[in-house]
Amino acid sequence: MTLPCRIAALPGRPGDRHRARCLRCQARIARGRTLERALRSMRAEVVPAPAGLHRGVLRRLPRQDALQPRRRVVLRTLARQAAAAGVTAATGAAVLTGVVRWRSRPLG
């Protein structure tokens, strides 16, 4: 909490003594404590959810993630293998094209 007088921030007795005497600092400290209490008390305050929320959630429930973990792993593996095969084929085709072009280049 930032107090109005700089001296209040001093550690030890000078700060303590000032805070004990200064009405402005005391008022700020009191306001700070009220604010802290009010913020903490908001936790118990509950705002009712809109009427359609429950229905909306249940209507949109998808399949749970881990219900079929095996299928996900299989799919991921297949996708990875397909991608690797694609990259290999593309690289091979590029090398082959390069070699053919190099061989058929005009001499001289």
């Binding site: 930032t2 604010l35 929320l53 959630v57 219900l67």
Partner: protein, 182 residues
């Protein structure tokens, strides 16, 4: 039902929901939707709160099989809500930079809503809406929900130092805003 029975009942519901029981999850949503919505409201304001709450609960359902019960279900749900709020807020900010509406009051009457604290809370809600997104998130998680600096920083994807600096600035700004009032 005693507190312990409620706890056991909730554990049972979580266990059933983890294995895909939609009815058990529906019960859990009934129990927690207000708390999730309230947290979302405090983090992103009324325009996005319902979307954040809905998305959080759906994400929770999807991730439930991975919930190990190391933290309380409500704590876990709060973490998902913070995460979702952050993601949706960023996405919304990319499209429009509108300030959040500051008039989201608790409409539920109750005996605790009397006295000075009620006035302070109402002023607080308005003041919170005027903080930056980052400051408000840190302040709400630390000072309202009592999270540690480490937890707050982790869930918001920022460093502890940033969390501390934001908290300090948020508290100072909040005090300034409250002092502006007539």
């Amino acid at each position: 039902m005693t507190g312990r029975e409620v706890e056991r009942d909730e554990r049972d519901l979580v266990e059933r929901a983890r294995s895909g029981d939609r009815d058990a999850f529906a019960d859990l949503v009934w129990r927690h939707q207000d708390a999730v919505y309230t947290l979302a409201l405090r983090l992103v304001g009324p325009d996005l709160a319902a979307d954040v709450a809905q998305e959080s609960l759906i994400r929770a359902w999807r991730a439930l099989p991975r919930f190990r019960g190391e933290a309380a279900f409500s704590t876990w749900l709060h973490r998902i809500t913070v995460n979702t709020a952050w993601t949706l807020r960023k996405r919304a900010a990319r499209h429009a930079a509108e300030p959040i509406d500051d008039d989201f009051a608790d409409q539920r009457p109750g005996p605790e809503r009397a006295g000075e604290l009620v006035d302070v809370r109402a002023a607080l809600r308005r003041a919170l809406a005027r903080l930056t997104d980052g400051q408000r998130a840190v302040l709400v998680l630390r000072d309202v929900y009592g999270w540690s600096t480490a937890e707050t920083a982790h869930e918001l994807g920022i460093t502890r130092t940033t969390a501390k600096v934001r908290l300090h600035r948020a508290r100072r700004r909040l005090a300034e805003i409250l002092e502006e009032r007539p």
